[in-house]
């Protein structure tokens, strides 16, 4: 709270100083409401960027508000839109993309915003998996990419050494991971490996990196009538492995979403598949030597490995309410302000600083260059692994661009629930993936029915 006040005060002071003449002579700046879902310390860093933007020019003032977790922010934005008080910009997590896109009149696509205001942003410079996740199937930019991460493998070099493994050659394939896990277990390490975000990392990432579909219609990019493909041979094989490894004590299921995050920094687990954003916490809490490596893959699958997909969030531009008409209920100046703010956060310097401060990946090649030239990756070995993994294999394919499925939040929960039942030995891996597939299809069909008319 104090920090927020200080930031606001700093903005006020800077704005006054920057003008060089009495503030009263200026027309009041146009206010842009911006809702975000990042808790501290990330939220503070985001609000600092907003404050810097406000200080950089006198015409627009972006007002950031923390609205709780991503789901809470989403529900808040939905309710605000229904009562015609929607914010101009709302930050939405990547799995909400399908829901936002289907919202039709509720949102103003970024490409429309930019062409309407004459502001240009070079999206071709963005990392393909980043921009692709938030584009329509024909390549038009729908939302503004911002905080993006991907999943990587962290491994404990001290434990590797104790097990007689080379701490400087992390395992690349799942076969090598399994062999390393066995050695670690023989050396008396109780948790050879674990995973955070079981659905995102072990299902979505695995399929994308092996260039296999999660759903038909290019993972939903081509239409609401997509059907899940969760029970394919690769997925069943991988799930069987995880369940078997769990039974043998090579793998530990650490809970849903980010629940397993703590197992690696505490030194308990030797290998962890987690968000690249976990890096900051490992630096802060880890009392051991550690390394970063790309996610493992199956070496015998043709076309693997290619780029991983992203997580994180993007910024959506919202119309004011259901009856706002063609103007979206905003003045031309307000739209212009939103576009100017997007141009500001798209600048490589701002993006590179955000990347280095937070551990999110840079979303542009140019920002990656800025950070490299500043020597960031020499001082922070492994911080570029996530970016290289995202760039691997060139342009993203239909299977590795991302996921565009409605109700995907629910589907992730379903996948995790069925995985848990398999880990409890209540059902086989095959049954788990089939059950998840069936239940997820019900969600997709409901979503299709609810949104078929809204999208028109």
């Amino acid at each position: 709270m104090l920090r927020r006040h200080l930031a606001a005060a700093a903005v006020a002071v800077l704005a006054l100083a920057g003008l060089g003449r009495p503030a009263l002579a200026q027309p009041a700046p146009v206010e842009i409401q911006f809702w975000h879902g990042l808790p501290q310390p990330l939220g503070g860093l985001l609000e600092k960027i907003v404050a810097d933007f406000n200080a950089s020019q006198p015409k627009y003032r972006v007002v950031p508000t923390f609205r709780g977790t991503y789901p809470e922010t989403m529900v808040g934005a939905v309710a605000a839109f229904r009562s015609s008080t929607a914010p101009h910009i709302v930050q939405m997590y990547e799995v909400g993309t399908g829901t936002m896109l289907a919202a039709g009149r509720a949102i103003r696509p970024v490409h429309e915003l930019l062409s309407g205001t004459g502001v240009t942003i070079d999206f071709n410079d963005y990392l393909p998996p980043v921009r692709g996740y938030y584009q329509a199937a024909d390549g038009r930019q729908m939302s503004m990419p911002f905080n993006s991460s991907t999943a990587v493998m962290f491994y404990n070099k001290d434990l590797f050494q104790r097990a007689g493994l080379d701490p400087n050659t992390p395992p690349k394939t799942w076969q090598e991971v399994e062999a390393a896990a066995r050695k670690l277990k023989e050396a008396g390490i109780s948790c050879p490996m674990t995973t955070s975000w079981p659905a995102w990392i072990q299902v979505e990432q695995t399929l994308a990196m092996h260039n296999q579909p999660l759903a038909t219609q290019a993972n939903g990019f081509r239409g609401l009538n997509a059907e899940m493909r969760l029970a394919g041979p690769l997925m069943v094989r991988h799930m069987q492995n995880l369940v078997e490894w769990q039974r043998q004590g090579l793998f530990r299921y650490g809970g849903r979403d980010a629940a397993a995050d703590g197992l690696f920094p505490s030194g308990e687990c030797a290998m962890a598949f987690a968000s690249s954003g976990l890096r900051a916490r490992i630096i802060r809490e880890g009392r051991f030597q550690w390394g970063t490596a790309m996610l493992p893959y199956y070496g015998d699958v043709a076309g693997a490995p290619r780029n991983s997909i992203i997580g994180g969030a993007s910024f959506w531009v919202m119309n004011k309410g259901p009856n706002a008409g063609a103007t979206g209920g905003r003045s031309a100046e307000e739209w212009r302000g939103v576009a100017e703010f997007f141009r500001y956060i798209a600048s490589p310097e701002v993006d590179a600083k955000w990347h280095q401060d937070t551990g999110y990946v840079p979303v542009r090649r140019a920002s990656y260059e800025v950070a490299r030239r500043a020597g960031y990756y020499q001082q922070n070995a492994g911080a570029d692994v996530a970016i290289e993994q995202l760039l691997r294999g060139g342009a993203a394919t239909d299977n590795s661009r991302g996921i565009r499925l409605g109700g995907y939040v629910e589907i992730r929960t379903i996948i995790q629930e069925e995985m848990e039942k398999a880990f409890q030995a209540q059902q086989s891996a095959q049954q788990a993936m089939e059950a998840a597939n069936t239940r997820a299809n019900v969600v997709l069909r409901n979503f299709e029915r609810q949104n078929a008319r809204a999208a028109q």
């Binding site: 809970g255 703590g262 629910e410």
Partner: protein
């Protein structure tokens, strides 16, 4: 002298009633009516396309195996929480009612948990029972008990039941203690002179005289277990593993807030509303007959 005040006409009494009626209308009747209306619709999250589907949402909810599972979980959960919270509180109240040294401190300490917010309470339990960071969780695993509530549904249920009951014990304790203190000593002394031993005195004299309190607490505890335990479940298990600890109220939240499936969520909350009204009515109709005031 009759000091009853009479108001002439209808306007003035209506005026006095108005604030209470307005509050009830705005904060209870209106949202409830909205929920009922929403439960009859299929709608996208942003409310751009609406389709009136009659009772289809209800039919889908009742036919959904996940909802039935949640209903079964709720039955187990609510009865266990109510029983555990009442039994422990009664035991503690009886002990606190005796003349012991430091009774005041003892009583004060017992009331504290009630002041802890459900989510915080859940985090405290997490710190105790988490399989890899929890004090007791680690000790259990070290002792050879395979304790992992993240993967064992029964252990997860046990944990949320105990954590929820713990929260409610202090509330029950206060009422039981007050109830015990209002039982005339002469009745107990008479029973003692007649040769009744303490245990018999408790079951034949104290417990029946406490029945109004027990009945009131039973209703309150069941409502608590149905509605107010959301925070504990959300912070401890999020309804998992699988769907082992997903109760009806938690499912309403997940379907409405996370999944943005408003029609189904509204239908579930209407069913829940009817269920709790029915449950309370049954209690007043049948259980209250056995209560001596």
């Amino acid at each position: 002298m009759d000091r009853k005040v009479f108001f002439k006409g209808r306007a003035l009494p209506a005026l006095f009633l108005l604030p209470q009626l307005a509050v009830t209308l705005v904060f209870f009747i209106w949202p409830a009516a909205q929920a009922v209306w929403q439960s009859l619709l299929q709608q996208d999250a942003f409310g751009l396309a609406t389709e009136f589907v009659g009772l289809e949402n209800f039919a889908e909810v009742v036919a959904d195996p996940a909802w039935r599972g949640a209903a079964a979980n709720t039955a187990v959960f609510a009865s266990s929480v109510a029983f555990l919270a009442l039994a422990v509180a009664l035991f503690l109240a009886v002990q606190a009612d005796k003349s012991i040294r430091g009774a005041h401190i003892y009583r004060t300490l017992l009331i504290w948990p009630y002041a802890v917010a459900p989510a915080i309470a859940a985090v405290l339990w997490l710190f105790l029972f988490h399989p890899s960071i929890g004090l007791i969780g680690r000790a259990l695993n070290a002792a050879g008990v395979a304790w992992n509530y993240q993967l064992n549904g029964n252990q997860a249920m046990l944990l949320v039941v105990v954590a929820s009951a713990w929260k409610q014990v202090s509330y029950n304790f206060i009422f039981f203690l007050a109830g015990l203190q209002s039982i005339p000593k002469s009745v107990l002394e008479a029973a003692a002179i007649d040769g009744a031993r303490p245990l018999r005195r408790f079951w034949t004299v104290v417990f029946p005289l406490l029945s109004p309190t027990t009945f009131f607490l039973l209703v309150v505890n069941l409502v608590y277990a149905f509605f107010d335990t959301f925070g504990v479940i959300h912070a401890l298990t999020k309804g998992g593993p699988g769907k082992a600890t997903e109760t009806l109220i938690y499912k309403v939240y997940v379907d409405g807030v996370d999944n943005l499936n408003l029609g189904s969520s509204a239908a579930q909350s209407v069913i829940l509303m009817v269920l709790v009204i029915a449950l309370t009515a049954v209690q007043f109709r049948f259980v209250e007959r056995r209560v001596h005031y």
